[in-house]
C-alpha cells in the first residue's frame, strides 16, 4: 500500500526538468537555461534555490488538485486511484495579455505528459483533460497570467 500520487508527482517533476527544450523555453529572454529552478511543486517559493532570488517568469507550478476517489475490490484492497494534477505556466505583462508567450511552453509540457505512461512500473496513464486561462491582477497594475492544464492520471494499484 502506498500513496501513489507521490510517485506521479516525482515522475512529472523529473520529466519536466529533464527536458532541455522546456528548459530553453523557460529561460525566457536573455537568460540561460537553468538560471533558476523554474519548475516548482505546489507553489513558487519566495527565494529560488538556484538563483537565490525571487523566481521570475516564465515559470511552471505543478500542483495536486485532487487525489481522486479510489476504487476497491470485494476483499477491501484498493485497485484503482485517479489523482488529478494541474500544471500552470505563469507569465507577467503590463497592459494587454499575450498568451503566445506561454503557448510554446504549454505545448511542450503537453508533448511530455499527455497520453504518456510511467514505465516504472508500467501501470500509470497520464493524460490532459483540459486547459484554461488564469489571470491575477496585482495591486501595482501588473497582470500575472497563466495557462493551467489539468492532467488526470489512472493508476492501477498492484494487487
Amino acid at each position: 500500500m502506498a500513496v501513489e500520487w507521490f510517485q506521479v508527482s516525482q515522475w512529472v517533476y523529473q520529466t519536466l526538468t529533464a527536458d532541455a527544450t522546456l528548459q530553453e523555453l523557460l529561460a525566457g529572454d536573455g537568460r540561460v537555461p537553468g538560471h533558476q529552478q523554474g519548475i516548482y511543486m505546489e507553489m513558487a517559493p519566495q527565494v529560488d534555490p538556484i538563483s537565490q532570488r525571487a523566481p521570475v517568469v516564465p515559470l511552471v507550478v505543478v500542483s495536486l488538485v485532487s487525489s481522486g476517489v479510489d476504487e476497491r475490490a470485494l476483499c477491501g484492497n484498493r485497485i484503482m486511484t485517479y489523482p488529478v494534477m494541474t500544471i500552470t505556466g505563469y507569465h507577467r505583462q503590463d497592459g494587454a495579455i499575450a498568451l503566445s508567450k506561454l503557448q510554446a511552453i504549454m505545448n511542450r509540457i503537453d508533448v511530455l505528459l499527455d497520453n504518456q505512461t510511467d514505465t516504472n512500473p508500467n501501470r500509470v496513464w497520464f493524460f490532459r483533460d483540459g486547459a484554461e486561462v488564469v489571470v491575477t491582477n496585482t495591486a501595482d497594475a501588473r497582470v500575472e497570467y497563466g495557462v493551467a492544464s489539468t492532467y488526470r492520471c489512472y493508476i492501477s494499484v498492484d494487487v
Binding site: E71, A73, L74, C75, G76, I79, S156, V159
Partner: protein
Amino acid sequence: MPRLIAKDVVLTITVGNNAAAVGYTAPSFSTGTAVCTRAKSYSRSTEIGMVESGALCDIQQLNRPTRISGTVEMDMNLNYSTSAANGLFLGKEGYFVRVVANLGYTVITDIGIITSVSIAVETDGMISEQATITLGVDGDSGLTGAVVGV
C-alpha cells in the same frame, strides 16, 4: 455493530481443466484461485422449479417443488500487465467451475458451468470481464466440495 459492507469477502474460483462435452470426460481440478482482489461484484440467484398438480375439481393450485436452478454472475477487473491478460474466464465457456464466496459467517459454494463471458474496455475505466455461471451440472465427479450443489 452489524456489517453491511462487502469488505473482506473472499472469492475463490476453481476452473476445471476441460470443458463439459458430449462423451463426457470427468473434469480435473487444480487448486482454487482467490480472485477477490480483482472482483468488482458477485451476484448469486437461485430459484426452484414448480409443477402444478391440481385436479380439475381443486379450487386452488397444488404446486410441488422440483429442481433448483440458478446463476452466479461476477464482474472482475483484469490486470492486463500480468499473465492474467487472457482473462480469468475468457475462452472458458462450457468449463466446469467451482465458486466459493466466503462472506465471513456465510460461505456459499457453487458448482456450475461457465455459460457466458464478456469483456469490456473503456478509455475512462478499467478492463473488466463479466461471467455468468449456470448452476446445476451433470457428471461432476470431481466436484464433491460443493456445499450447495444445486
